[in-house]
């Protein structure tokens, strides 16, 4: 512990030496999840490619300037970015939880639930925007552009929904079974997933929404 050089070899989404064997297993398990995450990124990438090549396919329907509201996108971005920070705080309190104290478990659950709350705030705004779009002649069946838009942004929304459900399952598991090895590794993988969704959102708000409004 006093040797800070060995400890700093394991920063971030990892458990740290104090977790003993769990820590060693976390390395391979998190790396494996990264491999999945990257294949998921390729899926998103292809949705982006479809969207980019459908930019001109308006078919006389409404375009980005008629459909998007800058304020709403800003609120969604704020929700998701803050939730990325709180999920990071959850991982930090997990790393401190190696002694298995009740107090640090409370902290962990608090940060996880806060992340869920922020994620729900994001989803609420996103669904409200989708409903608005559909009401303003912007249903996915209207044009190629709109199909690609709903598919891309919707795919991200489904991922966020999945991340929220996953997080709630983790909270339940941690409360019932305690912070054991299985849940520790699950939390690390979930954190990679959640941060990853925020990264995909950077690309969506920059190129789909802001790029469309320019």
């Amino acid at each position: 512990m006093s040797d800070s050089t060995t400890e700093s070899l394991h920063p971030g989404l990892n458990l740290g030496e104090e977790h003993g064997d769990d820590h060693l297993e976390a390395e391979t398990s998190v790396f494996g999840f990264w491999v999945f995450m990257m294949s998921d990124l390729v899926t998103f990438g292809m949705f982006f490619a479809v969207f980019a090549s459908s930019l001109g396919a308006l078919a006389g329907g409404p375009g980005p300037k008629e459909l998007f509201s800058l304020g709403s996108v800003a609120i969604q971005t704020a929700f998701l970015l803050t939730s990325s920070l709180t999920s990071g705080m959850a991982v930090l309190s997990l790393k401190q939880n190696h002694a298995g104290g009740k107090e640090s478990r409370k902290q962990l659950v608090f940060w996880l639930l806060l992340t869920v709350l922020l994620g729900c705030g994001f989803l609420y705004r996103e669904v409200a925007d989708f409903i608005d779009m559909a009401a303003n002649d912007g249903a996915p069946t209207r044009s190629g552009y709109l199909s690609a838009l709903w598919a891309l942004v919707g795919l991200h929304g489904i991922h966020v929904t999945g991340g929220i459900i996953w997080c709630l399952v983790i909270v339940g598991g941690v409360l019932v079974q305690g912070v054991n090895k299985g849940w520790k590794l699950t939390i690390l993988r979930w954190a990679v997933f959640w941060h990853f969704l925020d990264i995909v959102w950077i690309a969506i708000f920059s190129f789909v929404f802001l790029g469309g409004l320019l």
Partner: protein, 96 residues
Amino acid sequence: MERTKEFHHYLIGFALATILTIIPFTLVATVGGAFSYAILVVCAILQLIVHLRFFLHLSYKGQQKEDLQLVMFTGFILLIMIGGSIWVLGSLYSRM
């Protein structure tokens, strides 16, 4: 000690990401035009790096290096696939 350092790491990342988000939103709301689009692209790439570095803790050291290589290889594949699709379809579009 190490814990406070990591905590600060997250806060720095969050601050940088917030700044890199506010810049493009402000530009789109006020200035607009091709100049804003260029800044927007730069901010998006920088924010991507900030997230990978400060939230996902990728680096050239230790096990994180393998994760980073994986991400960079995927980025390379994506570049070929997205860039290629846009190139081919854009060319087709301009011929029609």
